[in-house]
């Protein structure tokens, strides 16, 4: 499903002294089946923007279009349930949403709400437990007896269980150890490819954005200020630093090398592998001269 924003604006707490504008005139579109990263400094409005994607917030101005449903300030809550089934959100620290007696039941909560029969929901729960690399016997345990990392996986399974076609990830790996981070990010990428999901990743990690995303949307002070492929966005180092964002480590390293050699060493290296190849090639050329 395609997603588009047209002049989306949003204010919190309209009509109170706490009224605060969070989004101004956000425009953009996200193609079906693409992997989009939304990056921005703390408070840039990226989390607010993603809450619009399944109608948890309705825009104060403008239109958010998800598939063929338009969400405006007048959209009724009842019309949103069909969208919510299509759009799964993994919130920051999703383990805070666990509540059931057993892991199995908690994973089944989402699908059951959307009308999936209990038997099928249970089957899905067991598949997801395996997919997320959790031990089999976890199904009958209380989610509160698990370790932090395991709770995170159970919560993610709870979102994947209703098989959304748009998957929104709000810093899904915050607070995990580096290995857990990598595993979870790889898992999301595999799912994205295998099930042809439309994935939206909100992140502080330039590395994750560079490595996984097809497109990047940069938010700054409630506006969408820059968008394009990772190459386009990360070749704009000056602009990014203006938005208080850095470069991925690989790109920063490449820039340092280029300064040292006094020349460009080819395309922007978005992954460590690309960087290694580019650097070794540059070294070879240097040696031949």
């Amino acid at each position: 499903m395609d997603i588009s924003f047209q002049q989306v604006g949003y204010s919190y707490a309209v009509g109170t002294p706490f009224e605060k504008r969070a989004l101004y005139d956000v425009n953009g579109s996200i193609a079906s089946g693409s992997y989009t990263a939304i990056i921005g400094h703390t408070g840039s409005g990226k989390s607010t923007l993603l809450l619009h994607l399944n109608g948890l917030l309705k825009p104060t101005d403008g239109v958010v279009r998800v598939g063929d449903v338009n969400i405006t300030s007048h959209t009724k809550s009842k019309e949103l349930k069909t969208i919510r089934k299509q759009v799964g959100i993994v919130f920051q620290f999703p383990e805070h949403q666990l509540f059931e007696e057993t892991v199995e039941k908690d994973i089944m909560f989402g699908p059951m709400n959307f009308g999936v029969p209990a038997e099928e929901a249970r089957t899905r729960a067991h598949e997801l437990i395996k997919l997320l690399g959790l031990p089999e016997d976890v199904a009958k345990k209380s989610p509160f007896d698990l370790s932090g990392g395991q709770m995170r996986r159970v919560a993610i399974a709870g979102v994947l269980a209703f098989q959304p076609s748009i998957l929104i990830l709000d810093e899904p790996t915050a607070g995990l150890d580096p290995r857990g981070r990598k595993e979870i990010m790889e898992l999301f990428y595999t799912l994205h490819k295998e099930q042809n999901l439309t994935t939206i990743l909100v992140t502080h990690s330039m590395e994750d954005a560079a490595q996984y995303a097809d497109n990047i949307l940069v938010m700054h002070e409630g506006r969408s200020v820059l968008s394009g492929t990772p190459e386009e966005v990360f070749s704009n180092a000056d602009k990014l630093s203006e938005y208080r964002l850095g470069l991925p480590r690989t790109v920063a390293f490449q820039r340092d090398i280029e300064k040292l050699f006094g020349k460009s060493i080819g395309r922007l290296a978005l992954t460590e592998d690309q960087l290694a190849i580019a650097v070794s090639q540059a070294l070879k050329e240097e040696g031949e001269r």
Partner: protein
């Protein structure tokens, strides 16, 4: 979604009411609550209402904001009003439709009680809106100090109060977050039978309790780590200062009570 709730919230400002010492405000509100029960006829109730409105004006709080924030409580006020309309059976019969009979006294009592209720809620809300939780607790602690002689753990009580006040907004935000997460998982709080709706609250309450207990534990550890040992020998960074305007407030209250006594109908 819960951002409109204002009960127990503090809005910084610079009005006369904001600048008052928390002790005079607390004392005033406490005595005012008692004084409200002095009113017993139309003019005294009107006076109370007018006085409250005046205080809100002086505190420069927007009525729209108050109204929105107190909606859940206004519902209770309306409920009380209707109960009185229907169940008080005194005075002249004014209106009859099938089994519903409305009497003159019912209307009068209903309006009086609603005003009483409204005035109490408004006045306490003005107090919390214009006084930071820390000032309220400081004021409370100083006002209760004499009771230390009776072995009342005043400092501990004040601390408990400031902690609970401090965590109201935090818990609100938390509720909002969990609510959003469960809504995103297809939970539905606004439709279905009453039984279904009660069931739909469980996914909200369980995570909230879990996180509240975790927070309490973290807080206790953080306090212990920093060597907190209760009120003995503690000094204050913020000193309370009683000014002329605070004395004025107390005189204003005495004047209000005098007028209430004067206008009050004799029994």
């Amino acid at each position: 979604m819960l951002e409109k709730m204002i009960f127990g919230r503090y809005v910084p400002g610079n009005s006369f009411v904001h600048k008052l010492d928390p002790r005079s405000k607390l004392l005033f509100v406490f005595l005012f609550i008692i004084a409200v029960f002095l009113a017993n006829n139309t003019i005294t109730y009107a006076l109370l209402l007018a006085f409250t409105v005046l205080v809100i004006l002086i505190a420069r709080i927007r009525f729209y904001f108050l109204f929105n924030g107190l909606k859940p409580i206004l519902f209770l006020v309306v409920f009380t009003l209707l109960m009185h309309f229907i169940f008080t059976k005194e005075g002249a019969l004014l209106f009859e439709w099938k089994f519903i009979k409305i009497y003159e006294e019912g209307i009068r009592q209903g309006i009086y009680i609603s005003i009483r209720f409204l005035v109490l809620v408004l006045m306490t809300t003005v107090l919390t809106l214009t006084t930071s939780p820390i000032s309220i607790t400081d004021g409370m602690e100083t006002l209760l100090n004499p009771f230390k002689k009776l072995k009342l753990p005043v400092h501990e009580l004040a601390l408990m109060m400031s902690i609970s006040l401090r965590f109201i907004p935090t818990l609100m935000d938390e509720t909002d977050k969990i609510l959003k997460a469960q809504l995103a998982r297809g939970s539905d709080l606004t439709s279905g039978t009453i039984k279904q709706r009660i069931h739909a609250v469980v996914p909200l309450l369980v995570p909230l309790f879990v996180s509240a207990f975790k927070r309490a534990e973290d807080l206790a550890i953080a306090m212990e780590v920093r060597g907190y040992r209760g009120g003995e020998g503690r000094t204050r960074y913020r000193q309370l200062a009683w000014k002329n305007r605070d004395t004025f407030v107390i005189f204003l209250f005495a004047f209000l009570v005098a007028v209430l006594f004067w206008l009050r109908g004799g029994n």
